[in-house]
């Protein structure tokens, strides 16, 4: 696993476990999130993404291990850590009884760095009526209101839990993507979880894949692309099952032509192909979606 230098880390998670009854939500997770990067957290439903995020925000106390955000314990120092974090929750939990303008004023009080002009600009971009009650907002508008209050104080760390959920494709692609990139370019950090992998692929610098409470992969996006390849092999005779190869994750195909999804150095794979008398007919990069499926199936 390619772990970044901890000296530059904004979040340090060490050996964190969490159990709900008999269900293991996090199983000895260790993770380090570098400053100034866009960090994507991917995984299926119930993989443990939100549980991990809740530990980072201090909403869950680790049953084992430790969590440090900006070098502080978020459970012991909630005011100090949360003041530097912008957070959009998965369930879009906002007070229904407030108007949008109340929500902005209320949130502003907690953040000395609240940028009024930026907040107003975001409100207009998101097409939110200041006098509307939160309860009257549609699911998408609710997500935008949540995003507004998470962004307007220009946080050092932006944590977005499934930010795309409820946003229409235009907002998702143009606005969210642009915001995430802008924040990263300003030297701030973004941690976002998603199961829309094309979106993660488009904006993330680093990716961590979580499955059944365990981290199965954590790499930079470039390394990930480089180390996961699709290799198509043609065998001399038809096969009922693809022979095992070095670095193989999954296979598909019939007869003589088989496609391997592999990780790691492909030179050993090439040697193995040659030794079997087969031919490597194509090699290309896997999309994040394919990597995810291959890893989970494997």
């Amino acid at each position: 696993m390619n772990m970044p230098d901890s000296a530059e880390s904004i979040i340090e998670i060490h050996d964190v476990s969490r159990q709900f009854g008999k269900t293991v939500a996090l199983d000895h997770v260790s993770l380090s999130i570098p400053r100034g990067k866009v960090f994507g957290l991917i995984g299926g439903n119930g993989a443990g993404k939100t549980t991990l995020i809740k530990h980072i925000l201090g909403m869950f106390k680790p049953q084992t291990g430790s969590v440090r955000v900006f070098g502080l314990d978020p459970v012991e120092k909630p005011a100090e850590t949360l003041a530097r974090i912008g957070y959009l929750s998965e369930d879009r939990d906002l007070p229904d009884w407030m108007r949008v303008t109340d929500l902005m004023s209320y949130t502003q009080a907690f953040y000395p760095g609240w940028d009024r002009d930026f907040a107003e600009e975001l409100r207009e971009t998101f097409d939110l009526d200041r006098n509307s009650y939160v309860k009257s907002l549609s699911r998408g508008q609710r997500a935008r209101a949540g995003l507004l209050i998470a962004l307007a104080h220009r946080p050092e760390l932006l944590v977005l839990d499934e930010p795309s959920s409820g946003l229409d494709p235009v907002v998702r692609r143009d606005i969210l993507g642009a915001i995430i990139r802008t924040i990263a370019e300003e030297g701030r950090t973004v941690l976002f979880s998603s199961h829309l992998l094309d979106e993660v692929e488009r904006v993330a610098d680093e990716v961590t894949m979580i499955h059944q409470g365990r981290i199965v992969l954590s790499q930079t996006m470039d390394d990930l692309k480089l180390q996961h390849r699709r290799l198509t092999v043609r065998f001399g005779t038809p096969m009922t099952q693809a022979p095992a190869m070095p670095g193989m994750l999954t296979t598909e195909g019939t007869g003589t032509d088989w496609t391997y999804h592999c990780s790691g150095d492909t030179s050993q794979f090439a040697v193995a192909v040659e030794s079997l008398g087969a031919t490597l007919v194509a090699e290309d990069a896997l999309s994040l979606d394919e990597i995810f499926v291959a890893r989970i199936r494997n």
């Binding site: 925000l57 909630p78 929750s89 108007r99 209320y106 009080a109 907690f110 006098n131």
Partner: protein, 530 residues
């Protein structure tokens, strides 16, 4: 499961089982507490007509409690719109099992009270009437769901049922009815159930296909009224609040959401009380008693308000702190302090309302020369109004703190534990003679006081240790407790009827006055950082 009725009954039982059992136990405990306090003043004449009012009140209380438990378990009806069943079947099989549960609870309640206190209250008729009351409330709730008229419709349905029930109950309670007349009594009940059922089908059917029970014209009128009120309040532009600090913002948040509850409940109960007095009694001598009952209403309001103030959940049905509040950048201590400040203000306002109520009635009584009851009761004792304020604060604080923990299992254990201890003491008392019973009562009072004191002291120690309360605040709390306890003990022992047991209890209660200051930040911490 191969039938709709079976599946829907199974769903009802699965969803509301715990809430109904807990509510049943609580209503039963409340009823037993009142019965035992009545009996502690001497033998109760069970044939006294005032007992009829007592049973009537208890049954209505039980209907309200169990009905709330059943309906809150169902939550919104919209999630079942897509089920492949027609509206009539749906409404029928949602109503019938709930009515059966209600009936069963009323019978069990009457049996338990009968077993403990030897009363022979009528059982069959309340068991028939209570489910009809529930059906009426359900029809009102479902038909006006998501409209501004929902609360009003429930109040109207409740008022119709309550009035009719109170009116007929007198005949049932006082006269042994012939079976044929009894059957006749059942006819209007059946009629009310059928009307409720038809109304619920009509309302639910319209909601299911996206139409409000209210016509679009009504909707327009209500929206226009809403806008007019907003215009009258703020003109064309709504002024956004401005906050100087996170603490002031949090205080505003808590106050907007929760501060109305206590004064609202007190105003409502005192108004109902005066209206009831005007409608049924009109006896000036009884007004002093109504002032004392008003004090009890303040305590009940304090309890309900505690449940509202202490709820940090996203919805009324959830007590777990929502992510929005949990991610506010402020310490647990500051967040708890904002809630405590709102509680203080709500208590003082409610107490002020009660004080004004008493002053107005006392003035009327003095003006009319009817001061006998007023002078005989505790109302003119120096300690009465301060004690009401402190007790109301204590009740709000304790209930709010329990709710603030946000752990449902913990809450259920506390409630069940209290019920178990109470029932144990009560059942032991049933086996004892008068003198032993008096001793047991005294020991229970002393033990309760000591437990309260130990729990409060323990909570303060933990809070200071975890630095959610400073050592200075802890010392101030100690000084205040010493002062309050001394006053309470001196006042009790000065009184000829006072006892050491009561003094011990009051020492414990005095400590509970301070309990929320240490317990609230701890409870909030436990809820926020799970």
């Amino acid at each position: 499961m191969n039938s709709i009725p079976l599946a829907m009954t199974w769903e009802l039982i699965g969803r509301c089982r715990n809430a109904v059992i807990l509510t049943f136990l609580c209503t039963n405990l409340f009823c037993s507490l009142l019965m035992s306090s009545l009996q502690s003043n001497g033998p109760v004449d069970l044939s006294d007509p005032s007992m009829m009012g007592f049973q009537l009140g208890m049954i209505l209380f039980s209907i309200f409690g169990i009905g709330t438990a059943i309906n809150s378990a169902y939550k919104e009806t919209s999630r079942v719109y897509v089920l492949p069943i027609d509206t009539a079947t749906f409404v029928t099989w949602r109503m019938i099992p709930a009515m059966a549960v209600m009936s069963l609870c009323v019978i069990l309640n009457a049996l338990l009270i009968d077993l403990m206190f030897g009363v022979s209250w009528p059982m069959l008729w309340p068991a028939m009437a209570a489910p009809v009351g529930l059906a009426m409330l359900q029809a009102a709730l479902w038909s006006f769901e998501k409209t501004v008229l929902q609360i009003l419709s429930v109040l109207v349905a409740g008022a119709i049922f309550g009035t009719w029930y109170a009116f007929r109950f007198q005949s049932i309670f006082l006269v042994q009815l012939h079976p044929l007349i009894f059957l006749l009594e059942a006819t209007p009940l059946l009629l009310m159930a059928v009307i409720s059922h038809r109304f619920a089908i009509f309302g639910f059917g319209r909601l299911r296909c996206g139409e409000s029970v209210l016509t679009s014209r009504w909707d327009e009128l209500l929206n226009a009224a809403d806008k007019d009120i907003a215009f009258l309040k703020w003109g064309n532009s709504y002024p956004a609040p401005v906050f100087q600090s996170p603490a002031s913002a949090q205080f505003w948040f808590e106050s907007q959401k929760k501060e109305w509850a206590f004064p609202g409940i007190v105003i409502a109960t005192l108004t109902i009380q005066i209206l009831a007095w005007g409608a049924f009694e009109r006896d000036l001598n009884k007004l002093a008693v109504h002032m004392l009952i008003g004090g009890v209403a303040v305590m009940v309001g304090a309890m309900l308000s505690g449940l509202i103030v202490g709820n940090f959940g996203r919805a009324d049905s959830s007590v777990e702190m929502g992510q929005f509040l949990a991610s506010r950048p402020m310490t647990d201590h500051d967040m708890a302090r904002a809630t405590l400040a709102v509680m203080v203000r709500a208590n003082v306002t409610s107490w002020g309302i009660y004080l004004i109520f008493c002053v107005v009635i006392s003035t009327v009584l003095f003006a009319m020369g009817n001061t006998r009851e007023l002078l005989a009761g505790p109302l003119l004792q120096w300690w009465y109004f301060p004690a009401i304020l402190l007790l109301a604060w204590t009740i709000t604080g304790v209930f709010a703190t329990l709710y603030m923990t946000g752990h449902e299992t913990f809450l259920a254990r506390i409630i069940c534990g209290c019920i178990a201890v109470y029932l144990a003491v009560l059942s032991s008392a049933l086996l004892l003679d008068v003198e032993s019973k008096r001793q047991l009562f005294a020991i229970t009072q002393m033990a309760t006081g000591i437990v309260m004191l130990i729990v409060t002291a323990g909570v303060f120690c933990v809070s200071v240790q975890r630095r959610v309360v400073s050592a200075r605040e802890g010392t101030i709390a100690g000084i205040v407790w010493t002062g309050l306890s001394s006053i309470a003990v001196l006042e009790v022992l000065r009184n000829p009827g006072g006892s050491y047991a009561l003094a011990s209890l009051l020492v414990g209660v005095s400590s509970l006055v301070l309990f929320p200051f240490a317990a609230a930040p701890l409870a909030l911490k436990w809820n926020r950082h799970r």
